[in-house]
Point group: C3
Chain length 383, copies 3
């Protein structure tokens, strides 16, 4: 096993700019594995780091300074991710989450995988004595103990870990161990995160994996496949979109966003999956997740213009995107005990072949056949 | 044309400390042109950059990390700028604009040219659903794509550009291209900024060029000359100062600030100008601006003690300094269409000769003769 | 005198990582004096600096980027300080003091000596027009002009200075000159801070020296000795703890914190002292302070679990820990005139011998004998 400590407060290591190829990691030269890290410059990028992993025909860009977010993946020439109006990889020191009524998080929002949590996630607003900012703090927290591991024998699995702390004296003592991994020969990128409550008292927590995709998958005629137990519109605006919630339009001026809440079906392994594929079904993104800890799914249909950010979010979570204050009655504000750990598993199928798309769709359809879909025509809560 | 990329996220360039003389820029050795950049250290300066341009007998200091602000100019031995109690060139990562009821901007306020805008400018406070912080966000946004250009033939114009983005997903997608230029033989420093709305929807915007001057120009007996169509006191406190609004006192304990709102007269080129000169009329600052996009002028008479910051602001803007909520009824909250650009032109005459001052004053007096001045004795709005 | 400028905006000096031994400072090789500075990395430590002074058998760690806080001291193998759930030396650019109703300060709270002030200290909340965040701004302000001085003759006093500015145009113009010193042969670490109002107007100010201690001194049976004139519970919760306010329990689940307000007795030199020693009285911390400028003492008994932060605070101040709005009627919001300076003297006795503890206790008992203790059974103010 090749191990590279990229960043460590414990070991006083901060590798800054780096570039290693497979030979330098003790792999056969023919194995297409490489790692780079770049110190970004310019504007609100100052201080940001960007790690680029090349694994097979996938190029994954990770932002350790933004909680180990995945900026995007290029797989076999297709890009997984989206084009936000926010072009910079914004360093957290330039983000004020309290700004604009708790919407400051939006100043840096542009990644494919954005973690929301873990004290809370969802819309900003008052919850009892607490004012919650949009989607929690973790995404604007720089990681520590960033470590790359590369297996030196087949399947040459590449794993990147990073620890992200969410701590406030007396209030929260969370440690998140993030892990992403992939191999040269498989079309999967896997996230296995572990949240630990290091404090002495049980705490509420929430998590949403805000995964965002656009062209070439998202286009007019692109379709979403989700095995659904219950579907409901997030708010009144989304009611009008219920009939074609899983059909994607071209970029549409004035569309803004429609959000749909889903209680998904899962298979015998406790996994559910959602698939978004392009109109022809030749490429797609499959999001597979463990419903034990991520029991619900938010579909964020933000098919506005390209300039505004044409994007669809496939977001498994502990909770929907409402402010936490609305979610206790929905049973979607879980508790983590003192010393307890919670695992979150999310696997991304980066499909660039029709066969992969078809198999995933068939798997989802088979799951849906086992139970009928219940549609609520009104939002679950009045916001 | 000599071109030097000082900072560029696109090109991964960040020159940090640098120093070039005229020969190194391909100019004749006799041409007094030089550029330096310094990485500042200490306190809240950490992370700040300071660019020093020497052009003829002018030394201009620019802060790229604070939205391309101009810290000050020393021309022919005279300083244009002021002495704020804030001595540091504060890096934006130490500024919380939401602090103290939206006044956190004041923690870094010490430059000669401070841009206020562009989503909003003016006093903090609620405007409908939005809480606006003092003078907008642009000044606490670090620039990107900072590029120096020097003409290698007469008049050897030196131009410094920097792009400053003001973006928030779903809310704003502004890009500001700043440009300042000057030549060795002229007493002018020119700002030509271009604001572009990169989003798909029209947005309100505001801009104030908060230009601030003190000694040696500002002193007891210093005078301001402005071609005025309408003059009004900003608030009740300023009513008492209407009679001598353009006469400057010595530093005055307890004076605090008086603010005057002006709708200026402009010449056939659409330019207006304001002149502040010292008691003897031997040196002065002339602020010339295009009234098409900067139709109003705020005079900020902050002639308190030297320790508090003895200073006068000559501030052309789209708007007065009121909170945005008060300015729609005044017609001072313009709109920028999707894809549209707005130009802002402000030229500083850095006068160190009596003749320059006299000519400017005569120009202004000629303009004033064409129309009589209307004075409102009450503030335009109740604040 | 050996002098080393570690950080200076004026002199453009930022020594970053450094390490000097006694010979390199012109001292005899046998004198155990050394200095190191380390640039911290990882997570929210990015940008932080840590200075380590070795003086005799004491190793003192100072954080210049957090207002010259003292992280901890190891003296003769005993640690003075505590273990906060916050493990990082958090850089101020990651702190938003306005977050969570003004509690963002808690995101970085983990030092032995934390300065609270100087515009205000105490609990967050509204005071008239101003919203005050917890314990003021100074602790999240990086120092400038950090200078080490080492006497080259006995007693080889080592002094570290740093200037920390608290400035906001029109509102505050405070400069704090911090100074800490110690010698190889004495068990004392001394802080002598000077606050200067550089503005033209008198201002209110507050200061609390939030000094925090835990194991090995703090344990079940550890005792606090304070010469008390008046004692009162901070709030209703503390009433139940009045009878054994100075007896320390083992880490106690659910204890949270009890806070006691003390008006202390002082000796003929105007000094008061508080002593916390372990159960056996073999080690302890003595906090001696000048009551002229620090007239009151807060005891913060936070003997909750180790994971939550088992710690006792011995906090001399101008004021108690209430929001400033409650303290004017208590006479605990002093004023600093224009140009005036206030000195704050706090000396830490780092006692690792029984004899030192005994002598300190006897001194305190002698002081207490001169005046009887008055106990208020109700909080001074209703919060």
């Amino acid at each position: 096993m090749f191990q590279l400590v990229i960043l460590s407060n414990q070991q006083h290591i901060d590798l800054a700019n780096l570039s290693l190829n497979s030979e330098q990691m003790g792999l056969p030269k023919s194995i297409p594995v490489a790692v780079q890290q770049c110190c970004l410059v310019g504007g609100k990028q100052a201080g940001s780091r960007l790690i680029t992993l090349t694994v097979g025909d996938a190029v994954v860009r990770i932002v350790p300074t933004r909680g180990m977010a995945i900026l995007d993946v290029i797989k076999n020439g297709s890009r997984f991710g989206w084009d936000s109006p926010v072009k910079e990889v914004v360093h957290p020191s330039f983000i004020n989450q309290e700004a604009a009524g708790g919407l400051g998080w939006l100043d840096g929002f542009n990644e494919m995988v954005v973690r929301c949590g873990y004290q809370w996630s969802g819309h900003p607003g008052q919850d009892g004595d607490e004012f919650l900012t949009l989607h929690g703090r973790i995404q604007n927290t720089p990681a520590d103990e960033v470590i790359l591991e590369v297996e030196q024998t087949p399947p040459y699995r590449v794993t990147l870990r990073g620890r992200v702390d969410e701590k406030r004296f007396k209030f929260t003592n969370f440690e998140l161990q993030t892990m992403l991994s992939l191999t040269p020969d498989e079309p999967y990128l896997t996230i296995e995160d572990t949240l630990t409550n290091k404090g002495s008292y049980a705490r509420e927590y929430q998590a949403i994996y805000h995964n965002n995709f656009a062209q070439p998958i998202l286009e007019n005629g692109a379709q979403l496949h989700v095995p659904v137990s219950e579907l409901s519109p997030f708010n009144d605006y989304a009611i009008a979109g219920l009939s074609d919630w899983n059909q994607m339009p071209a970029p549409t001026e004035g569309f803004d966003e429609m959000v749909f809440n889903i209680r998904p079906l899962s298979d015998e392994q406790g996994l559910s999956r959602a698939l978004l594929h392009n109109a022809k079904g030749t490429c797609g993104i499959e999001v597979t997740y463990q419903t034990q800890t991520l029991p619900v799914l938010t579909i964020w249909k933000n098919t506005d213009t390209e300039e505004q950010g044409y994007v669809v979010g496939i977001e498994p979570g502990t909770s929907f995107a409402y402010n936490r204050s609305y979610q206790r009655e929905l049973g979607l504000v879980p508790t983590i005990d003192a010393g307890e750990s919670k695992q979150f598993y999310v696997r991304f199928g980066l499909f660039t072949q029709e066969k992969q798309v078809t198999e995933s769709r068939e798997h989802i359809e088979a799951l849906q056949k086992m139970q009928s879909l219940k549609v609520f025509t009104k939002p679950l809560v009045k916001v």
